[in-house]
């Protein structure tokens, strides 16, 4: 730890006053048949070309965002005694997964305007324009609520260990219901509610082995895939019948 600190102090680049150096425990997540979520350790340090600035404290925000996909959020209403979907709002792009980890309460370390610019908090990360319904906010709130319940959207304030305003580490747990894609990982350094520096990295999440093969087959050769599922069903049916006959004899 001390040696790492010393090294960081020595490596003085004349660029920004404070810069991020990042490490990830793994930069890819393999979805196998027995995949049951994954914890990723995100750690790093702040590199300075001088002594630490005194005064306002430095804070860290880490976001991990799954691939952006368009969504339809529907609202149920009672019609003729039963609850049916009535209005819908198309969300242009919402992350399939989104986690925000911070070293202090988010509202204290990030101003509204900076959040708007950098799209850090969950509501800012969801983009919906051209909605036809007046109460669009209800729909985005509902989306955040639904996904938070599924563990797909996480706000984890005060979960980053930030030592001496230099070394930081946190753990982000990816749930089991992940979709494939590149998970953009961003680290922001903030001071006085404004972003001082940011660093981008990517965690690649992909299906491997038989999961990969089946998914590709289902999408690229759907007819062969359908025929394969039927063959398995017929064989299983035949095997069951044969085993049953054998057992009765």
């Amino acid at each position: 730890m001390v040696r790492l600190l010393a090294l960081l102090c020595c490596l003085a680049f004349p660029a920004k006053a404070e810069e991020i150096v990042l490490g990830l425990s793994s930069d890819n997540v393999a979805i196998t048949t027995t995949f049951d979520g994954s914890d990723i350790l995100i750690f790093g340090a702040v590199k300075r070309n001088g002594p630490a600035l005194t005064g306002e404290p430095l804070d860290v925000i880490i976001t991990v965002s799954g691939p952006l996909t368009p969504l339809t959020v529907r609202h149920k209403e009672r019609r003729m005694g039963i609850w049916i979907n009535t209005d819908a709002v198309e969300v242009d792009a919402a992350p399939s997964f989104y986690a925000v980890a911070t070293s202090a309460p988010l509202s204290q370390i990030l101003t509204q305007t900076e959040d708007l610019r950098q799209r850090i908090s969950i509501p800012r990360a969801i983009r919906s324009v051209g909605a036809r319904v007046d109460n669009t906010a209800d729909y985005t709130d509902a989306l955040i609520r639904i996904r938070s319940d599924e563990g797909l959207y996480q706000v984890r304030e005060n979960t980053i260990d930030f030592e001496e305003e230099t070394l930081f580490r946190t753990e982000v747990s990816l749930p089991a219901n992940l979709i494939e894609g590149n998970y953009a990982t961003r680290i922001y350094l903030t001071r006085n509610g404004a972003v001082v520096d940011s660093y981008d990295s990517v965690i690649a999440v992909q299906k491997v082995g038989i999961e990969r093969w089946l998914y590709n087959l289902a999408h690229e050769m759907p007819l062969a895939y359908g025929a394969l599922s039927l063959c398995i069903a017929i064989m299983a049916g035949w095997a069951a019948s044969a085993a049953f006959q054998g057992a009765r004899r």
Partner: protein, 302 residues
């Protein structure tokens, strides 16, 4: 043990799936039904997306029906020409059903359609079956004789007549085609084989002898659900082969246990139990539609 389903893109407990398959297998062994009407709603509850649940159930039904059909073929209780006529209607119906399914999916009403279908048909069939078997039970107690069936009804006066030797029938092909068509639509929309509609329709509407009804219904169900599986696989990409295999393994084992339980019980008792089960699922789904849901919003990709 968690297992990640490649198409549904969710991770589910493998033993839960085996158990679901097994439970439905026991029921299909006991009652001679495909069990699709139970497995699809149970998969919804297990957290499988509805579109995947419907398509994969169809695939699972192929396996259980094929296994049962082999037994019926051996006993020569399958009316293949009748099955083929039903099938002709069934394939057209399945095509229409998948089109309807995709149309409503785009409008966000597919859950409603599937649930309404379930409530309606499970209610009608469960109610009728309960009524019938209660009456049969009472009659058997009073007289001890078998009920007499009417020999002719309006169905026998339609044109395009054809001879069905195994069933001993000489009737028009129109009613079987219509029954097949109707069941085909249901198979695609509800992810069921439609045996619970087909069997009463064949007995009461077409006047087929009860001993060939189940085999013939199975014969056509295999083709219709097989076709439905292919259509869902090629148009929606929603057949999850891993999910299907888990359900099939559970179902195969369950069916053997179920057949043994079934052979120890009386036919009327079995039918009353099945009717009660059907009505219970129906009431559960009806409550879902009538009661205020805890979450009024829902989100889906696309």
């Amino acid at each position: 043990m968690q297992i990640y389903l490649p198409i549904a893109e969710v991770s589910v407990n493998a033993f839960l799936l085996l158990g679901l398959g097994g439970l439905v297998g026991i029921l299909s062994g006991m009652f001679g039904v495909g069990g699709g009407f139970l497995i699809t709603p149970l998969l919804f509850i297990a957290g499988i997306p509805p579109a995947v649940a419907v398509a994969t159930s169809a695939n699972q039904i192929v396996a259980s029906s094929f296994s049962a059909l082999l037994a019926h073929l051996k006993r020569k209780t399958v009316d293949i020409p009748m099955g083929a006529v039903l099938l002709a209607g069934g394939l057209v119906g399945a095509g229409l059903g998948v089109m309807l399914f995709n149309l409503l999916k785009a409008q966000g009403q597919v859950d409603l359609l599937v649930k309404l279908c379930y409530v309606l048909f499970l209610g009608i069939v469960g109610g009728l079956m309960l009524w019938e078997s209660l009456r049969a039970l009472l009659r058997a107690r009073r007289t001890g004789g078998a009920p007499v069936r009417r020999k002719h009804n309006w169905v026998h006066n339609l044109p395009l007549k054809m001879k069905f030797r195994v069933s001993g029938l000489y009737i028009s092909v129109i009613p079987p085609v219509v029954v097949g068509l109707f069941v085909g639509v249901l198979a695609a929309v509800m992810g069921v084989g439609g045996g619970f509609i087909m069997v009463p329709a064949m007995i009461y509407l077409l006047g087929m002898p009860t001993k060939v009804v189940i085999g013939t219904s199975l014969f056509q169900i295999i083709f219709v659900t097989g076709f439905t599986t292919l259509l869902h696989a090629t148009t929606n990409y929603t057949v999850d082969i891993v999910l299907a295999v888990m359900l099939i393994i559970g179902g195969v084992v369950g069916a053997q246990i179920g057949t043994r339980i079934g052979s120890k019980m009386k036919a009327e008792q079995l039918r009353i139990l099945l009717a009660l089960l059907v009505l219970a699922v129906c009431i559960q789904l009806a409550f879902d539609l009538l009661l205020r849901p805890s979450e009024l919003f829902s989100a889906e990709r696309g």
